[in-house]
């Protein structure tokens, strides 16, 4: 969660630019509104137990801007993602992208979640071109979490076979 001071600064900047309260154009969406929504009402901020068998953890960073993103998924016995949590330290677009990512993965199967693309995230949030890499980071975080989960399942299988 962003600190209050940063949040206040961002909001005041948006108000100053007149974008926070400006009317929406009929043809294009106002990305600020959607991104700000994720600031003010963050969904799924937090952590899951990374040592749990059915939890996959994805940890990614963007060297160019220094953003760090953690996304975790909890999968049930049927291979369906029942919970997801994130923690992102970076710009507003990165926070919004990962917040949206957790919303998108919930309810999907592990295979379905693999098909989530950064373009879906960018489109939904109406990210400007300069912030497209934030949605890329979120897609990579999802993939990293799924990959971690897969690795754990494979290990479990191997151990299970060894015991049998």
């Amino acid at each position: 969660r962003m600190s209050g001071a940063t949040l206040r600064k961002c909001i005041s900047l948006l108000v100053y630019r007149g974008k926070l309260f400006s009317p929406e154009h009929s043809t294009s969406c106002s990305y600020h509104k959607k991104v700000v929504d994720h600031y003010e009402n963050p969904r799924n901020v937090g952590s899951l137990d990374k040592n749990a068998q059915n939890v996959g953890t994805g940890l990614v960073g963007a060297p160019a801007c220094g953003d760090v993103m953690k996304l975790q998924i909890q999968v049930d016995d049927n291979g369906k993602i029942v919970d997801a949590k994130f923690k992102t330290f970076g710009c507003g677009s990165a926070i919004a992208s990962s917040s949206l990512a957790t919303e998108l993965v919930k309810g999907k199967s592990v295979d379905e979640a693999l098909t989530i693309k950064n373009t879906d995230i960018a489109k939904e949030l109406c990210l400007p071109p300069v912030k497209l890499h934030c949605s890329m980071l979120a897609e990579d975080a999802i993939k990293a979490a799924l990959s971690d989960y897969r690795l754990k399942q494979d290990k479990k299988e191997v151990l299970g076979e060894a015991r049998a």
């Binding site: 969660r1 600190s3 209050g4 001071a5 940063t6 994805g58 940890l59 990614v60 960073g61 963007a62 060297p63 160019a64 801007c65 220094g66 953003d67 760090v68 953690k70 923690k87 330290f89 970076g90 890499h133 890329m136 980071l137 990579d140 990293a144």
Partner: protein, 283 residues
Amino acid sequence: MFMIQVPRVSMLRVNTLRVLCRTGTLLQTGWSLKDRQSLSRAVTCALQCCVSTDSSSIRSLQQQFVPQDRGDKRDVRVRHLCTAQVCLTCWNCQHPLKQKPAFFCESCEVVQPPPEDTSYFSILECDCTFTLDTLKLQKKYLQLQRLLHPDNFSQKSEREQGYSESQSALVNKAYETLLKPLSRGLYMLELQGLNIEEGTDSAVNSELLMELMEINEALDAVETPQEANEIGQDTKGKLADLTEQIDTALNKGELQTAKALLTKMKYFANIEEKVKEKLSSFM
């Protein structure tokens, strides 16, 4: 014997035509782009040799024979073709500009347009090294701004005002970049053609990312300025270490190592910023 074939004769003035004939410049319509470029230089040189030329005829000739597909608009500058290298001249008095970069003409003291292809290090008269005397840098910066700042040019011509603005902005940019170790290091890599790509860093640096996550989460959870300060001090220490390591790597010419270290520095510099924000939120 050279043959001269000039298209659109009516656009050229008669004395300019005479210049071409006199210096025996060869023109052909089927020449390659490379030839045309050297031709435009030859034409410019030819015009230099002649006494009676004025800027409008030079301009019309440049329009005729300089490749149009360049797309960039440049000031029409008259160049002396010295035997050593192409020297720039003052736009006002045509005195050669020997200094590089030349902010002012040595002869008429008029401000010059900002230098092209000059590194920030030479603009601020510093050696191109990672360790920098920031006090010396600041002194040079202030000295330059005292001379170049647009406030000093309010009574001068529009052209001079424009040049002073661009020069002043360039000096600002150079100073900002060279002042902080991170931007300085990144700029030095850029000069060598190495950039930090937009992309993701996951498996490669998972230990570092975990460490960064932990520090960020701890910072998020602090409840007193003292706790925030502790993290701040710790981060400062890490940044100082990294600065040393980067210096070593750059001195040895180990660019990839320097790039990896600068990436790490970026993450910690962000944390340092967040510490400052956290501390100000307590006030």
